[in-house]
């Protein structure tokens, strides 16, 4: 029997009024895989993420996580189940500190009630202490430990991206969706990022799906890649197969009739 899918998107269509952002979108991931989702701008990639994480409820189709139907569940429930994500246009909590940004993501695990928190009972203090330590470890892993108490909004772009990843990791996810993690990065930074993603895949036992435009990154670390164009899947395969796929090339460079 083959390994079960940890994430399965089954024929999802996402329609906004007259606009079809995703059509018959299906995707399957096995535990531990590192895959890529690529396609020209507006192809529906972020929409796919939004459907998986519950921000949109699909017009048609279903999403399964660990064999459980999570279609249309609230994003915070889905996060609690184990899917975390970063955002294309970084969405940090700008006036909170770097550390607090990460700590927000551990709130979902908090067992203490508000009253216990107000009274600072030992039960709460222990949890808080634990979460703080974990958060600092995550910040060290992404190299942000020394700016832990700075305002997140004041960080340079590259650090903000790393903070987003640390924050997502703090939810202790099983599946991590990265939306253009390499955007705006230099060549060295991309190399570092590639190593970093492979490391966290291993160290945190994750399954990772990433949206990217940086081809070196995608081709470099992804085990397989799915290509979207105008909301439809036009190809799926290994990096080598995708690179040589005429439909993919056409989609990116424009085919007959395109300017």
């Amino acid at each position: 029997m083959s390994t079960p899918n940890i994430l399965k998107v089954d024929n999802v269509t996402m329609q906004f009024g007259g606009v079809v952002a995703l059509a018959d979108f299906s995707l399957e991931m096995k535990e531990g895989e590192l895959a890529g989702l690529i396609g020209p701008n507006g192809a529906g990639k972020t929409t796919a993420f939004n459907v998986i994480t519950g921000i949109y409820k699909p017009t048609k189709g279903r999403v399964y996580f660990d064999s459980k139907d999570i279609t249309g569940l609230r994003p915070d429930k889905i996060a609690a189940l184990g899917i975390a994500r970063t955002f294309q246009n970084i969405r940090l909590f700008p006036t909170l500190s770097v550390l607090d940004n990460v700590l927000v993501a551990s709130h979902l695990r908090l067992r203490s009630s508000p009253w216990e928190a107000i009274a600072r009972l030992p039960k709460y203090n222990k949890e808080e202490e634990l979460n703080r330590r974990e958060a600092m470890e995550l910040l060290e892993a992404v190299g942000l430990a020394d700016v832990a108490h700075e305002q997140a909004g004041g960080l340079p772009y590259g650090q903000q991206r790393r903070l987003e990843i640390a924050r997502a990791l703090a939810t202790r996810p099983k599946v991590l969706l990265l939306d253009e993690p390499g955007a705006g990065m230099s060549v060295e930074e991309i190399n570092e990022l590639m190593g970093f993603i492979c490391r966290i895949l291993r160290d945190f036992g994750l399954t990772i799906l990433l949206i990217e435009h940086q081809m070196r990154l995608v081709m470099g670390i992804c085990q397989w890649i799915q290509v979207l164009n105008y909301g439809r899947t036009i190809a799926r395969g290994t990096p080598l197969e995708i690179q040589n796929n005429p439909k993919v090339i056409e989609a990116y460079l424009g085919g007959k009739g395109d300017a």
Binding site: T46, N50, I55, F87
Partner: protein, 298 residues
């Protein structure tokens, strides 16, 4: 209830509805462009009534001229209010503009209390408006016809301005997509001033007629009509002009008819409006015409 009485109530409802509709437009066109609830609009309405009062009694002008002057003065006030309280906050968070609008509203109210005094002042009613017209056994005040007539004319002018002039097109463009309209070279400041001027002029028209119909002016007289007109605008779909007209009108008509049929609930007439507001906001915030509520992009 006799048929005659019913018709009286209906006439009342139609005139009140028309007045609400006039004021409602002001809320909706400002919200459409700036996404701002002009809290002070009801108070501009109030000032319009006092301007008319001043023109009629202190200046002893013939009523058509007083009417015109009141409109001019109110338009000026509306434009000035925008320049002082809203324009500086266009880039600021929405809550700041909201607070500013509330502060402006309170300022106008307290200013009126200080300058005009808290005691109600009588609005002079020119002879012609005291007439009562009898149609088939029912007595209807001439004011009612005046209100309906003037309102229709006002709405026709409004429609012309909004759909057939350059300024009107600019207004509508701005309300559809603020940034793109700016890129198209539309002068924001001008259009916004025009919008406030338009809204204030309609409020002044409504205020003059309100004074004729309910000849007691007092500084807080704009509060309830303002709220009701606003609720009407939300009912019709905030940002939509036909919505404001329809919603304001329906609200006024329903308010009168409700009390006509259930006089015991007279104390709850305001409650009806507030509850309606909450229901709309919860169940169908886009109102009757289903205006799109802004969605954040992810």
């Amino acid at each position: 209830m006799t048929f005659a009485l019913f018709l009286q109530h209906l006439a009342n409802g139609i005139s009140l509805g028309s007045l609400y509709a006039l004021v409602a437009v002001g809320y909706t066109i400002v919200y459409g462009i700036l996404r701002l609830i002009n809290f002070a609009h009801g108070d501009i309405f109030m000032m319009g009534a006092y301007f008319a009062l001043f023109a009629l009694s202190a200046l002893a002008l013939p009523w058509p001229i007083a009417f015109f002057l009141a409109i001019v003065a109110t338009v000026l006030l509306g434009v000035i209010v925008e320049k002082i309280a809203y324009k500086p906050l266009r880039e600021a968070p929405r809550m700041s503009a909201f607070i500013s609008a509330v502060a402006m509203s309170f300022f106008l109210e307290s200013f009126a209390i200080v300058v005009f005094g808290g005691r109600p002042k009588a609005f002079p009613r020119p002879e012609i408006f005291s007439a009562v017209i009898h149609i088939g056994g029912i007595a209807i005040q001439s004011i009612t016809f005046f209100i309906i007539g003037v309102s229709i004319i006002a709405f026709l002018i409004l429609t012309y301005l909004v759909y057939r002039t350059k300024m009107g097109i600019a207004m509508r463009a701005l309300s559809k997509d603020f940034e793109i309209a700016m890129l198209m070279g539309i002068r924001i400041d001008q259009v916004v001033s025009f919008t406030f001027a338009l809204g204030s002029s309609l409020a002044a028209v409504g205020a003059f007629m309100w004074g004729l119909k309910f000849p007691q002016l007092y500084p807080l007289m704009g509060v309830m009509p303002g709220i009701k007109a606003f609720i009407g605008a939300v009912l019709g779909g905030i940002g939509s002009i036909p919505g404001a007209l329809l919603g304001g009108f329906c609200l006024g008509l329903t308010e009168i008819m409700l009390i006509a049929f259930l006089p015991g609930l007279a104390g709850f007439r305001d409650l009806f409006s507030y509850s309606l507001l909450i229901l709309i906001l919860l169940l169908r915030p886009g109102g009757i015409f289903g205006v799109q509520v802004i969605e954040t992009k992810v």
